[in-house]
Symmetry: C2
Subunit: 375 residues, 2 copies
């Protein structure tokens, strides 16, 4: 129940152990087509390049940045946590001009501030933001921000690492141009791949670049040749076959449940956990409207040692939760309710253990009842 | 029996399916230390940054290139196949000046030509070459080439994707500065990771760079913070936990056999396959002194359709072999004897099937006997 990786179901783990076949085997080519279709159903997009990049979410992030930006381009980056700043640093390493729109850690991005920034930077090519900030547990309004990008004739670049599969994300309907995501949060596959989708508008911009993409491995035009038409694939790199088996199985499980019901499940379990935490006297940091259901950031009560407690939870109670990052280090715990780890059993384990931490086991039973009432 | 991925043993596949734990879990930190030690024993190096990069071999290649080179730097790249040219292109995308030393496809790199190129480019910072060219089945003399680099005050950068675990490679004794490798060839782990080693000399050069490394994800200084001292690790990305389990198990198996005995096994089975192919009238392309035991490039006999035959072998006989790349496309087959796929049983299957292809099953039995006599 940390900020990811989440628990991985046995079925996905078993898929990882299937025999490794060749990346040029005709069966694998069919498998790649199936993977692309499952990802399109997950992003709810219908066009463009939609593939799993062969590297962790950070590689997905950097792939999008280096393809969209050329030296001298301007990008507006919204920063309300750890990962927005990472985006900005990557953009700087491309020689881009970065306009940072800062927001308080623990608060959603303010569309008005973004609008003002875009007005002040009329040449901006890209607006980038994190839909679900894993460092602070905040959900920003991706639909509104993507609309702003369109109004200002910018491409939108969205970090959906923690949102995908846990929170509504409608890439096509919201007209988002480029998204990267992660496998190890609400999709409950092991870490190591980054699903990415690039629409036709963004792909056309990439094809008109004046400079080659600085990374050969991350070059979307080359990746399109590898993942593209199944009739004529060009060798690019050796795909991580077994990791792809795992992601494929996790996506099958997601769509067996249905994407929409998975979103509902995350919201419902978040409400349950919140009700239980309230009984224990544990406060959430993020205002109600801006809370990410799958990542609950809790203030550490006075008199309790943050890191020591997490250590005890892991070693003695077998429960992993996360600490704070950056400005929130030492002050908060981050409790994940992601994918396979988002179920009544995990909430039960968590509330029982936290009741011991706040030293009131009787309250634990009340908290549990309050939580279960919400499910 | 293609050019990789090789067959993966069940024990390694089972390791891939172990429960995913957190990348910041204290148990995982210990696991990372064990991984680094196993990789040092495999590279036979004793110092520097020795880690598995979280991406396929191509990411390992690009990581080394972008860390070693700054805009304006000169690199001498030896090209005797597909992967040398890829190295050169990546270097160009860093803004480096690339001096190409071409060699005929199917022949080893000639140290005299390299010496002349280094004399003509006295400011060269890096000499890069592929020890084992997967595209042509050629082994070049890594020890001699690394010595040349040292004599000319260059750093040596070696592609060991196909050589590691199958052919002698002594990074420390040969004083090689930087090496990247693959997991899916002679190590018989699934693809997706790239073991890399960077010695102290190269790391010191990297620390003195004037420009930041263009890739944030591949920046070795940041990766050193993540994989470095176990007492104080900085978060960089979420490691592909399950892929690392697989590689760790594959390395354990390698050292249970012993690295030196694995080299001997590859050589012995190569001799066996060669003896069998000879009986079938199938010729090897590469001269005897320059042959890579783990990748045997065979001329397609006249009157036999190259791709159609491979297709038949895969679909009807369940045997995967590779086709030619670049100048060799359509003219050769590439038969891998890598890691777990390097054993008497695979040779038997291969020779029996190829005897059918050359339409002489009786010869097949003779070929098999000739092969087994070598084991």
């Amino acid at each position: 129940m940390g900020p990811g990786p989440s628990g991985v179901p046995k079925r996905v783990l078993a898929a990882m152990a299937r025999p490794t076949i060749g990346h040029l085997d005709p069966e694998f080519i069919l498998f790649m087509d199936s993977m692309k279709q499952l990802l399109q159903r997950t992003f709810l997009c219908e066009y463009g390049l939609t593939i799993p990049v062969s590297g962790p979410g950070t590689v997905g992030m950097e792939s999008c940045v280096v393809n969209l930006l050329e030296p001298g381009d301007t990008i507006v980056v919204c920063i309300n946590g750890f990962f927005g700043e990472r985006l900005a640093i990557m953009a700087e390493r491309c020689g881009a001009k970065v306009v940072r729109v800062h927001e308080t850690w623990g608060r959603a991005i303010d569309p008005d501030k973004v609008d003002a920034a875009l007005r002040a930077a009329p040449k901006a090519k890209v607006l980038a933001f994190v839909q679900a900030e894993t460092s602070t547990g905040v959900l920003s309004d991706a639909k509104a921000l993507a609309r702003l990008a369109r109004e200002h004739d910018c491409l939108s670049l969205v970090d959906a690492v923690t949102s995908i599969g846990g929170t509504p994300l409608r890439v096509g309907a919201w007209d988002i141009d480029v998204v990267y995501a992660g496998t190890q949060k609400c999709l409950s596959a092991p870490p190591g791949l980054s699903p990415v989708t690039v629409n036709d508008r963004a792909m056309a911009m990439i094809k008109e670049r004046k400079h080659p993409v600085q990374s050969w491995f991350m070059d979307f035009r080359l990746l399109q040749g590898y993942w593209g038409m199944s009739t004529r694939r060009s060798y690019h790199h050796t795909a991580p076959i077994n990791a792809l088996y795992g992601l494929h199985e996790a996506l099958l499980m997601l769509h067996e449940e249905s994407l929409e019901l998975a979103w509902v499940r995350h919201r419902r379990h978040h409400n349950a956990l919140r009700a239980g935490l309230k009984v224990l006297g544990l406060e959430l940091v993020v205002p109600a409207q801006e809370r990410l259901p799958q990542l609950n950031v809790v203030k550490v009560p006075q008199g309790i040692e943050e890191a020591k407690t997490r250590d005890w939870l892991l070693k003695v109670r077998g429960l992993e939760i996360g600490g704070g990052l950056g400005a929130l280090a030492g002050k908060v715990w981050r409790i994940g309710l992601m994918g396979h780890s988002c179920r009544s059993r995990t909430i039960e384990v968590c509330l029982r253990a936290l009741a011991e931490v706040v030293d009131d086991p009787r309250k634990g039973r009340v908290a549990l009842r309050a939580a279960m009432d919400e499910l």
